[in-house]
């Protein structure tokens, strides 16, 4: 399943992909993902960084100047085409594996 140069996808990684797939094409912040999945920042951010590096996710800053907003800007993540295909593959794989186990 995992080819060379592809990031390692853990159980939490699959859960992250599932959230992106469910909420596509919505933009999600790390904070929202943490609330949705109940995972800690120490688990989530390395996963997001790996997926972003692999080109599955894209991120961009919230529009606006932090000085005018009066707080630091949020970073929004979105899944792209490659990420969507991978997410579907992994979710099918996980689904098939769980059916086999039962």
């Amino acid at each position: 399943m995992v080819t060379k140069n592809e990031p390692r996808v853990s159980v939490q990684g699959v859960a992250v992909l599932r959230v992106f797939l469910d909420k596509y094409p919505q933009q999600i912040t790390g904070s929202e993902l943490m609330d949705a999945l109940g995972v800690a920042s120490g688990t989530l951010y390395p996963i997001l960084a790996r997926f972003e590096e692999a080109g599955w996710l894209k991120s961009k800053w919230e529009a606006g100047d932090p000085a005018k907003l009066g707080r630091p800007r949020r970073r929004y993540y979105t899944i792209n085409g490659a990420g969507l295909a991978k997410a579907r593959n992994y979710l099918e794989f996980v689904g098939a594996a769980s059916v086999q186990r039962t």
Binding site: N5, R8, T29, G30, S31, M34, A40, S41, G42, T43, L44, Y45, P46, A49, R50, E53, S59, K60, W61, E62, P66, R71, P72, R73, R74, R75
Partner: protein, 261 residues
């Protein structure tokens, strides 16, 4: 009457103390987030500092903010190790780190006399300003940028190379303080040398403009040397598509500077 007064005083004191504790906890959480981000490499440092501070504000209570911040430290360690050691097994990482520390400390002891003499010489030749090139730069909008280039002695003053600077550049002593980065764990003598520029070029986001146009100030020749070395490293280590992008990025950066590399 006195009992009521004591009760009121206790209530006020309790409120003041609890407010102080909450405010102190939030301050501590912010400090931990900034400290965690400082462990990251290249532009990741400022990016995650801002992102994590924004997410910290979204946590509802002071305790949750503190837990979030503490876990950011774990995230920073994992992400930093990913860039420094790629996908090496944990045993290899430990061995590389130990060997790096031993090698760097040994080199530091051996070259200590040269470092001390050079330090004094550069300090005097630079009219007693800091003898090392700073790795903190400012973007056009005033935000800080931390370059990951090696630490080097200042060899230029007012656009011209100093006489001691020439000696240091010829002998290569100007880059010796970079040993400190190995001791810090930000570079390696034994293992893979991290390509921090990979991070910069991989992230040409809207307002995160390539920072290089800000770096080549009058005494940053060593930075350009670092760029040239990085360019050489790229040929052997980076994937083809990414390499082309990085090479064009580096070439454009280097050719845009007035220094000879």
């Amino acid at each position: 009457m006195i009992e009521i007064l004591v009760f009121l005083l206790k209530a006020i004191a309790g409120k003041v103390i609890s407010d102080e504790v909450v405010s102190g906890t939030v301050g501590l959480a912010r400090w931990i987030v900034k400290l965690s981000a400082s462990h990251l490499c290249g532009s990741q440092r400022e990016r995650y500092e801002e992102e994590w501070l924004a997410n910290l504000a979204d946590r509802p209570t002071a305790i949750r903010k503190l837990l979030f911040a503490a876990d950011c430290m774990r995230a920073a360690c994992v992400m930093r190790h990913h860039y420094l050691y790629d996908d090496l097994p944990i045993v290899d990482r430990i061995v590389i780190r130990i060997l790096d520390l031993c090698a760097a400390l040994l080199v530091a002891v051996i070259v200590a006399p040269y470092l001390i003499i050079s330090f004094a010489g550069v300090w005097a030749s630079q009219h007693f300003r800091g003898p090392f090139l700073t790795n903190v730069h400012r973007r056009r909008d005033g935000r800080k940028f931390y370059s990951e280039a090696g630490i080097a002695f200042r060899t230029y003053l007012n656009g011209g190379q100093t006489s001691i600077g020439k000696v240091l550049a010829i002998t290569g002593i100007e880059m010796l303080p970079t040993i400190w980065r190995v001791i810090q764990g930000r570079s390696s003598l034994v293992g893979r040398r991290p390509l921090y520029l990979e991070l910069e070029a991989a992230e040409p986001h809207d307002d995160d403009m390539p920072y290089l146009e800000f770096i080549p100030d009058s005494d940053n020749v060593s930075v350009l040397r670092f760029l040239k070395r990085s360019q050489d490293c790229l040929r052997s280590r980076t994937k083809t598509g990414k390499r082309r992008r990085l090479e064009s990025f580096l070439c454009a950066s280097i050719s845009g500077c007035s220094f000879e590399v």
